[in-house]
Amino acid sequence: MSSPVQPGAASPAPFPSGPIPSCRGRAVAVVGDDIDTDRIIPARFLKCVSFEALAAGAFADDRRELQGDHPFDRPQHQGAAILLVNRNFGCGSSREHAPQALMRWGIRALIGESFSEIFFGNCLVMGIPCLTASHADALALQQAISTDPAAEVVLELEALEVRLLGSAESPGERRWSLSLAQGPHRMLVSGQWDGTSQLVAHDEALRRTASRLPYLSEFGAGSS
């Protein structure tokens, strides 16, 4: 998680580490339901033994099809940190390459109507919050960003709300409430989202669990 940001990556923000109380930056919307991980990163980019060069693969085929008009290619969204999506984002393949590509492009948090379970879990373990907004709020937020792409967005994780700071074009602050399941919320805010050390620490409990599993203790592979 601590490798340096790639040269040429759009955002200079460091990769997530420790507690994540908030996230601040401009936003970019990728509109549509059921955007699967094959679209977030086509399979040919998975031919690698490291995640480092994945930024270029983010939405690669959609971007090619739109010839520069994809949100990830529009000048006003370069450097954006918050991705706005709709329903069932990240469905399909379990490839962690999908959130890794988004993170390396510059994304540090997502707000959407719903997320696929595996994608949500992959983001969580990388310290990338996926927050849920109501249908109306998700559309309003996307509309606001479409009107004022330069607007500064502040995502307060603790308070579970997102604020759109006023600008010269649209003065006045707007805010929407968000939701996130209690467990992931606590993990992100407390910095306990990267749990390998916690898992490894419970080795004694792990032994006890293993010892009461009949397929390990009583009839292990090929045993009689």
Binding site: G32, D34, P42, R64, R95, V200, A205, L206, A210
Partner: protein
């Protein structure tokens, strides 16, 4: 909240600890790895200075990137070669069993683990691949994970998980002749949608499910994820035990009897409580074909591509996108749509019974002119068994190519892919935009027998029209296989 289901019992048994963040640490009974989602996990392990906690509980194979024409090393694609070499190095370094090319046991990870008897009822099974839900066919709780979680399983043989709700999907009645497990799951996803399963485990139950063979149950559970459910399962029963008995990793002798007793005790009891239940009538299901870009965009082979007006308002935007991408006309029949490529294989439908069902259609017929049709066995064992009964000869005589085992054109990480706007009839699991390797390539999902029917007719065809009229009286090829 669910109670007394197989899911609840297996979850409870595998609980290690409650984590500070609120998640549960869950012991993983079987960890399967492959070349695509594991290299970064091993690198991370090295960075953390950790070893593999239970190398004997992790099993590896190579499937996604292998060519299906020649599997000679080194591969022509240097990236593919590097991925396999990295897997070989990691497995050797950590003492993990790797079922490599030519071992007689290589194949798609979700085909070989059941074949070897590695997957057993009551286990938790994890793999860096979303189709890990396949193993739920055995009454295991099996789910796909990302690479950081692969790292966690390697390091600790456990994962931080949150408990799912359980939805029972009860199917009653007999499937019509010519209607396969693939049609059943495509129908379920069509009716429930691709999002309905998010947050749920799917328990497949009822008379129809109990009558399915293990291979059919694997097809069913394989695609639970396409309905949004990270895991799907079938309660273990006599069919499960008969499949497992005698497999290399299955218990033997006196241990076998104890295992069967325990496995039986895991099934959801009559008193089990589910968070939700839906019921389907199997007799109403036709051979099903997808017309769009999500697995829920499916219809019976004799139906018309739905018009926007026939769909719920919230389904219309993605339908409009699908009409444009697929170049299919709303209101027009799906039968008769010409295809370019016919692919039989994948973790969904690359097992022996799938090849038998397709061969029964191909036998004595010829692939239509101009169509590329090929068959990719799911594993070296499937290939050997199919060749032993002459299925390869049937396919070759009909004009199909007979290939080496691997994931092939399911996902385009190897040389098998669509070109340009080609449209495929495919026995795989995803019709996403670009899935089969061309950014504008198009996929029609269907059963292996339906793919064979499309191949010999050159267009989408109701396979029932090609089957002998007496077929209704005999068991389907799939249900008779063991």
């Amino acid at each position: 909240m669910s109670a007394g289901t197989l899911y609840d019992k297996v979850w409870e048994l595998h609980r290690v600890a409650e984590l500070p963040g609120g998640a549960t640490q869950l012991f993983i009974g079987l960890h399967l790895i492959h070349e695509v989602t594991s290299p970064q996990a091993f690198s991370a392990l090295r960075d953390l200075g950790l070893g593999v906690r239970h190398p004997e509980r992790t099993v590896a194979t190579v499937d996604h990137i292998v060519p299906t024409t020649s599997q000679a090393r080194p591969f022509a694609d240097p990236l593919a070669e590097e991925m396999l070499a990295t897997l070989e190095r990691n497995c050797a370094e950590h003492g993990i069993t790797l079922h490599g090319l030519g071992s007689g046991r290589q194949g798609i990870v979700h085909v070989i683990a059941p074949e070897l008897g590695l997957t057993q009822p009551g286990m938790t099974v994890a793999c860096g691949d979303s189709h890990t839900s396949t193993h739920g066919a055995f009454g295991a709780i099996a789910f796909g994970i990302g690479t950081s979680q692969v790292r966690d399983v390697l390091a600790s043989q456990s994962l931080a998980m949150n408990k799912l709700k359980v939805r029972r999907i009860r199917v009653e009645g007999a499937l019509q002749s010519g209607v396969a497990a693939k049609d059943l799951i495509l129908h379920i996803i069509r009716m429930l949608g691709v999002k309905a399963g998010v947050g749920y485990a799917y328990e497949f139950a009822g008379g129809t499910i109990e009558a399915l063979s293990m291979e059919e149950r694997m097809t069913l559970c394989n695609m639970a994820i396409e309905g949004g459910a990270r895991c799907g399962y079938v309660n273990p029963d006599a069919t499960t035990f008969a499949y497992l008995q005698g497999r290399p990793q299955a218990p033997v002798g006196e241990a076998w009897a104890r295992a069967v007793d325990w496995w039986r005790s895991l099934a959801s009891g009559a008193e089990a409580v589910f968070d939700d239940e839906v019921v389907f009538d199997a007799a109403l299901i036709a051979p099903t074909v997808t017309w769009g870009i999500t697995p829920a965009q499916g219809i019976g082979v004799n139906e018309m591509v739905p018009t926007a007006a026939q769909l719920e308002p919230d389904e219309r935007p993605i339908a409009e996108e699908a009409y444009r991408y697929m170049d299919l006309v709303p209101g027009a029949p799906i039968a008769g749509v010409p295809v370019d490529v016919c692919f039989i294989g994948s973790c969904t439908n690359g097992r022996l019974s799938d090849l038998r069902a397709a061969a029964a259609v191909a036998k004595g017929r010829q692939v239509a002119p101009g169509i590329k049709a090929f068959v990719v066995p799911g594993s070296e064992q499937v290939a050997a068994a199919a060749e032993a009964e002459g299925l390869d000869a049937v396919f070759r005589a009909a004009g199909f190519e007979w290939r080496e085992p691997g994931c092939s054109m399911c996902l385009a990480m190897n040389p098998d892919r669509l070109e340009g706007r080609q449209i495929s009839a495919s026995s795989s699991n995803r019709n996403f935009k670009g899935r089969q390797g061309s950014a504008s390539g198009r996929t029609l999902l269907m059963s292996p027998a339906m793919v064979a029917a499309a191949a010999v007719c050159g267009h989408v065809t109701d396979v029932r029209d090609l089957l002998p009229a007496t077929a209704a009286a005999s068991p389907s090829p799939a249900s008779s296989s063991r």
